[in-house]
């Protein structure tokens, strides 16, 4: 299936861009109007993390959709959605560094070393960083074959990101939400494994 080309490039793409900004707008509005409950800092930290994870999974879903229903246009949204994953992950990290740790680098370093859920979260971000840096077309051309190899980092980093969420919620004996993300990720990665073995 394909959408008519003008519809896709003139409407769908800008619409997806606008929708992807919506969580940020809602967070900003919530802070401004004090509608985020008793602990707004926790609320925006959680929300930005949720959205980073959601955009990661959406990015992964686009190539699955191409293989499963033949929607090739979606691939052209992949860079944008991947960059939104990076965008929300950056906000999430910044909120932790600033409003949770107040840039106490010693404390942050201790956290990274001592707390597995922080360790894997930080690792996931460090792996996402080169993907964002090499996202422009010029970088793709310059890196050639190595670009594709580099970008397979999205698989391990997605696993680490889900693990980060899981281990955080596990402390509260409440893994029902991360379980949903884990199942979706398993399906997306499973589909890739299936394609590989089929070939």
């Amino acid at each position: 299936m394909q959408l008519p080309e003008p519809l896709f490039s003139r409407c769908i793409k800008p619409l997806v861009f606008a929708l992807a900004l919506l969580p940020l707008v809602l967070m900003g509005f919530g802070v401004w109007q004090d509608r985020l409950g008793a602990n707004p800092i926790e609320a925006v930290t959680r929300s930005s993390g949720d959205w980073a994870l959601r955009f990661l999974l959406l990015t992964l879903a686009l190539s699955s959709l191409r293989r499963l229903i033949g929607w090739t246009q979606g691939i052209r949204l992949r860079r944008m959605l991947g960059l939104f994953a990076f965008f929300y992950a950056s906000i999430h990290l910044l909120l932790y560094l600033w409003l949770d740790q107040f840039f106490d680098w010693q404390g942050i370093w201790r956290d990274i070393l001592k707390r597995p859920f922080i360790t894997v979260g930080m690792l996931a971000f460090l792996m996402l960083l080169p993907l964002a840096i090499t996202s422009p077309k010029a970088m793709l051309r310059r890196l050639g074959k190595r670009w594709k190899t580099l970008h397979t980092l999205i698989y391990p980093l997605s696993i680490l990101a889900v693990l980060h969420f899981w281990w955080m919620k596990d402390a509260k004996s409440d893994t029902s939400e991360p379980l949903i993300y884990a199942l979706i990720l398993a399906a997306l990665l499973g589909e890739r494994l299936y394609q590989r073995f089929k070939a």
Binding site: G37, G107, A171, S173, S176
Partner: protein, 303 residues
Amino acid sequence: MMIKQTPDLTENDTTPYALYQHRREFLKFLGGAALLGTALPQRAWAKSAFSTDETPTDFADITTYNNFYEFGTGKDEPAIKAKTLITSPWSVTVDGACEKPGTYTLEDILKPHALEERIYRMRCVEGWSMVIPWQGFPLGQLLKRFQPTSKAKFVRFETLADPKQMPELKQNVLDWPYTEGLRMDEAMHPLTLLATGLYNKPLLNQNGAPLRLVVPWKYGFKSIKSIVRISFVEQQPVSSWEKANAREYGFYSNVNPTVDHPRWAQYNERRIGEFSKRKTLMFNGYEAQVASLYSGMDLRKNY
């Protein structure tokens, strides 16, 4: 100066909630009014020596940001879902090593006790804190009425676990009923409170109505809500959180900035309503009152 008595009013009627947060101004206003000879309701609660002078957290925050897993694991959920909890009639079963076991109605439980106000800090194990003006009475006063025997070394508490009133029970997040425990000397400590109200209003369901424990020097989850059973036991009880994850939630769970939770540091906390974090105080700032309970104990091992 004569102050007119109004015995048909309860304390709840005397300090309008909206004025509570400006209690000092309100008192000045009352003082002025009394001088003018106007018949006005009397003073707010006498200040307890155990109360903190810190500004109480907003009523809205205290009543909408709750951990009460029987009504969902989201902090906003109990305020929405706990309406199904029926708090009247209510009874508490008392059993185990005591002379006066039995099932007591809430009225029986409360009747002999004069309520007092205690403004306590509350530190959650998750790293946030509040200041809450509770109304209640010392737990020790109640426990004495049941005449615990020499075998009573610990007190075990249970929250109601009725799937009809608490639909989230089927999620099995914890091993219901929610169970907590205190050592006998902790339970008898004058700081340990049984609360029936906050901000001069009866407890809302999400805060553990109609009867809850408040142990201000321990992490908040020790302060068990909506109590239906009190048992005097010889062996140290296993709390629900200990059962779920003993490595992360110990029996004592005293607030301790030097002993981290395995997944996060405990040296500081976010006071709800504040932007910066505060340093967490040993025993949540009640060290002078309670440190002697634990003298000689390794608090790193007995976390």
